[in-house]
Subunit: 267 residues, 2 copies
């Protein structure tokens, strides 16, 4: 029997996953959340499947020590590589961001031609094409890694000639394939949404998996009878493996509001 | 009494330090080298002083297990933050890249106006201005972080509009300060040397600390009676904390020749 007053656990390699926390807070305002950003090992997207899976299991273990009823893997790379290992190791539900994003993309496309952008790790895993084709077998999926987008977002360098030139370089080949839908397959990318939209133009629908992920979490909590029953304002806790102060500063940009306290954890 | 046939130990956060190995191999062709690239935790330049120092001590410990007679910290960020802690913890000489780079810059400048580019960690440490002013008290030092240069170099995205726009953005303010010398204060940056030189123009001398570091290592080995006395070709060993294959591939670009074997280490 699940303790429904436990928190939703969320982890990401760094600050990007706070875009998922923002949607969780909007969709499930009564739920307490504990978030872990593995800022000492960020980024995951350039690293091997074995290393990312090892880090994902370590993050899950830290969050379980704090008491959680469900785990949200807010990192696309960790979802792409580590979801199977996490589900095998944990006795609570584990929700990734790839399946919700794929579902939203399949629902949004009219032409059936879908682009996916993500880290090298996410793209090379093939997780998005597989998940999209489970929702829409006839869909054509074109995937491209955009490795510079993570450092650009982490640096908050969101506009101007450098992000624009990078976006043109990465997205040009996808647009030539006639996509009408583009999955932002990395939790950092919504920060670059305006620059990306400027390059794709209005005919391409941008899909950010955060909203759909929050909906999936709500449905799963309902199914397990796990909705929080407390009536007071829920507590949000933030844990990081590197400097808490710089996380609080950059994190506010992602979360869209200030982070009260950020705690350092060693692992 | 030092065992002069032990290897020179070299570490960096990733592949960048191989530019230092290249200069060591050129200056000290008889010396065996064991190199550790902490590719599972790369980059260091965006992380806090405490975390970088912790990682530097762990790297040194792995290399000491292999048997080394001297430690070269081929990472500017780890040199800037961790040199004191490493020297306190180890009973062998520890050579960083900041002091040699500062020395070379002080020797190269005519106007006494020196620019330094590096990671956020290196620049915020103030290590370069301090080291340069120890060599040339009257020097004026202007430092600027160039955080995008590491991912650009790691991606081997060395030319074209994106690196050029990034370089113009970062270097413009330094050039307005009338520098005549620019220290490439990160082992990744020599790969972007052509783009950087295109922006600075021929009146600015670019200083890469790898060559001066190799000279310092040779002088230190001489001073301690530690030169290798074997006459056969020395062994080079490469250790990494993430995938060995991708390191071997990118590493060849930095080292300027193929890497024979790369071994995975867990720490």
């Amino acid at each position: 029997m699940v303790d429904s007053n436990l928190a939703i656990g969320v982890f990401d390699s760094g600050v990007g996953g706070l875009t998922v926390v923002r949607e969780l807070a909007r969709a499930l305002p009564e739920e307490p959340i504990v978030y872990l950003g593995d800022t000492a090992r960020v980024p995951y997207g350039t690293k091997s499947s074995a290393t990312v899976t090892r880090y994902a299991l370590a993050c899950a273990s830290i969050l379980q020590e704090r008491g959680i009823k469900i785990l949200v893997v807010a990192c696309n790379t960790a979802s792409a590589h580590g979801l199977g290992a996490l589900r095998a190791a944990l006795d609570i539900p584990v929700i990734g961001v790839v399946e919700p994003g794929a579902h939203a993309a399949a629902a949004a496309t009219r032409s059936g031609r879908i682009g996916v952008i993500g880290t090298r790790g996410t793209v090379s895993s093939g997780a998005y094409p597989e998940a999209i084709q489970r929702c829409a077998a006839a869909a054509k999926v074109f995937a491209a890694p955009c490795p510079l987008f993570v450092p650009l977002a982490e640096e908050a360098w969101l506009e101007g000639p450098v992000p624009l030139a990078a976006a043109q370089n990465y997205l040009g080949p996808l647009l030539e394939n006639g996509i009408d839908t583009l999955v932002l397959g990395c939790t950092h990318y919504p920060l670059l949404k305006e620059t990306i939209a400027h390059v794709t133009g209005p005919a391409v629908t941008l899909v950010d998996s955060a909203e759909e992920t929050a909906r999936t979490v709500g449905q799963t909590l309902d199914a397990m009878g796990g909705r929080c029953t407390r009536t007071f304002l829920p507590q949000y806790r933030f844990l990081v493996s590197d400097d808490p102060d710089s996380f609080a500063r950059v994190g506010a940009l992602f979360l869209g509001r200030p982070l009260d306290t950020v705690e350092w954890v060693d692992f």
